[in-house]
């Protein structure tokens, strides 16, 4: 297709597509009848306009329709949009998952208490149930402290052992080049889509 010497302004293309008067060039409507590339710009603007119009018709939550491998614009917008202020503050939306989190936590806690719980050995059943919770909290905090204190020395020791394996290091470096190349290709292919 020959490029147009007097390309249509996008606003004029949108105006003609929606049946309105062109804004910049008064003869734009006549021009699109004879110019192939400008006619194409008008039909593309018409498609976009129809897709935006269909935004209001799509029910919230509908799966985006895929036509010829191209996802529907309205569906994609609905799928990717961030939470609205109302959704972010709506307790009904978050209540269920938060309750499920609590349920998971307490079922895990209950499973932990099962092997050790025995009313006869404890002051009370509540005390027996509380012991694993306290132990869990203390173990969690100790685990974090342990992680912070043991990692530097552990990594230093790992480095000491690995430096004796220079051949392994060179092999890894040699293998890293093709693996990184493959990863870059995979990421680039995704970005081209």
């Amino acid at each position: 297709m020959k490029p147009c010497a007097r390309p249509l302004d996008p606003l004029d293309a949108e105006a003609i597509a929606s049946g309105a008067e062109p804004v910049y060039a008064r003869d734009a409507s006549d021009h699109t009848r004879v110019c192939l590339s400008c006619g194409r710009a008008v039909s593309e603007a018409a498609v976009l306009s129809r897709q935006i119009d269909s935004l209001g018709k799509l029910r919230d939550g509908e799966l985006p329709a895929i036509r010829d491998g191209v996802p529907d614009l309205a569906g994609s917008v609905l799928r990717l949009r961030p939470f609205s202020r109302r959704e972010r503050r709506d307790l009904a939306l978050w209540k269920g998952p938060c309750l499920f989190t609590a349920l998971l936590f307490f079922s895990g806690f209950l499973v932990l208490t099962l092997p050790g719980i025995s009313a006869s050995e404890q002051a009370s059943l509540a005390a027996a149930a509380l012991a694993p919770l306290l132990a869990l909290l203390r173990a969690g905090s100790r685990s974090l402290a342990e992680l912070a204190s043991a990692w530097p020395a552990g990594l230093e020791a790992l480095g000491q052992a690995m430096r004796r394996e220079q051949t392994l290091g060179l092999v890894c470096l040699f293998l890293l080049a093709p693996v990184l190349f493959g990863l870059r290709r995979a990421l680039a292919r995704e970005r081209r889509r």
């Binding site: 099962l114 173990a139 552990g154 000491q160």
Partner: protein, 277 residues
């Protein structure tokens, strides 16, 4: 005679030991540190320094004793039944909560008969933490999460490939850095690469839970995202509780998660639309 005795002791006590993919048996006293990577260590004598083991088990014989600290990363500590842990310093098994929990409950890990139940309990607690963290991330970064889930939905094979190559790249780079660079450079690089891996896994797993949940509920509505996230985690969590298959599936999901994070650049949009003020 005294000189001969001192000489005998000096000869008998060997300096530290380092091993890679080779098991160590300590049958003579050791004056220095013992480091083992992808190796099991059996301690049948006195070790004056620290013992650091990566990806291996430490087994104590009745005569084994460690004067320094014992650190086991991704492995077990096995002690003769009915005996306390023969370590004078600190014992740490970073990343495993079970030993610390049993310690707090005054129950030695090797004396417990119901470890399977305890492990399941801790797993359920870990799943609740996963869900809480994912929900918090979804609350703060709803659109990147949704974008990452949508991308994985349409490009499963690319996601899996990117995940496998990403995990392999991080692993190879860490090993190469630790083996070839001086410690002052290698350790920060290893920590940086580890942090990238953790961040990618956390973000990617959240997006994967969301995607699985959206498939289960048959809805991609923003209003249903929290419920979808919980449903996805419930599905993957139930599978992860199964013996053997569970850990395989969870590991595969982690690889996919890293792939989702890398492929979508943590859900950052490809093109930004500048809105004039």
């Amino acid at each position: 005679m005294i000189a001969a005795g001192l000489f005998a002791v000096a000869v008998a006590v060997s300096p530290g030991q380092t091993a890679f993919a080779r098991n160590i048996e300590i049958e003579k006293p050791i004056s220095g540190r013992v480091v083992a990577v992808l190796s099991d260590v059996r301690i049948a004598s006195r070790v004056s320094g620290d013992v650091v083991v990566w990806g291996g088990a430490v087994t104590f014989s009745p005569s084994g004793f460690v004067e320094g600290n014992l650190s086991v990363f991704g492995g077990d500590v096995i002690v003769p039944e009915g005996k306390p842990l023969p370590v004078r310093g600190t014992v740490s098994t970073p990343g495993t909560l079970l030993r610390l929990y049993l310690d707090e409950m005054h129950r030695a890990p090797w004396q417990d008969r119901s470890q399977g139940l305890l492990i399941r309990g801790l797993r359920l607690l870990a799943l609740s933490v996963w869900l809480a963290v994912s929900l918090a991330l979804l609350f703060c970064f709803a659109s990147p999460f949704a974008r990452a889930a949508a991308s994985a939905d349409t490009h499963w094979s690319s996601t899996l490939l990117a995940g496998a190559l990403g995990v392999l790249s991080l692993l190879l780079a860490t090993v190469a850095a630790l083996a070839l660079l001086p410690p002052t450079l290698a350790i920060p690089i290893a920590i940086l690469l580890g942090s990238v891996a953790v961040a990618a896994k956390v973000f990617g797993m959240g997006a994967l839970f969301l995607l699985l949940g959206q498939k289960l509920l048959g809805s991609v509505a923003p209003a249903k995202r929290p419920a979808a996230l919980a449903a996805g985690l419930a599905l993957l969590g139930v599978v992860s509780l199964l013996p053997f298959i569970g850990s395989v599936v969870w590991s595969a999901a982690s690889v996919v998660g890293v792939g989702i994070a890398f492929l979508t650049r943590f859900g950052v949009p490809r093109f930004r639309v500048a809105i004039p003020a």
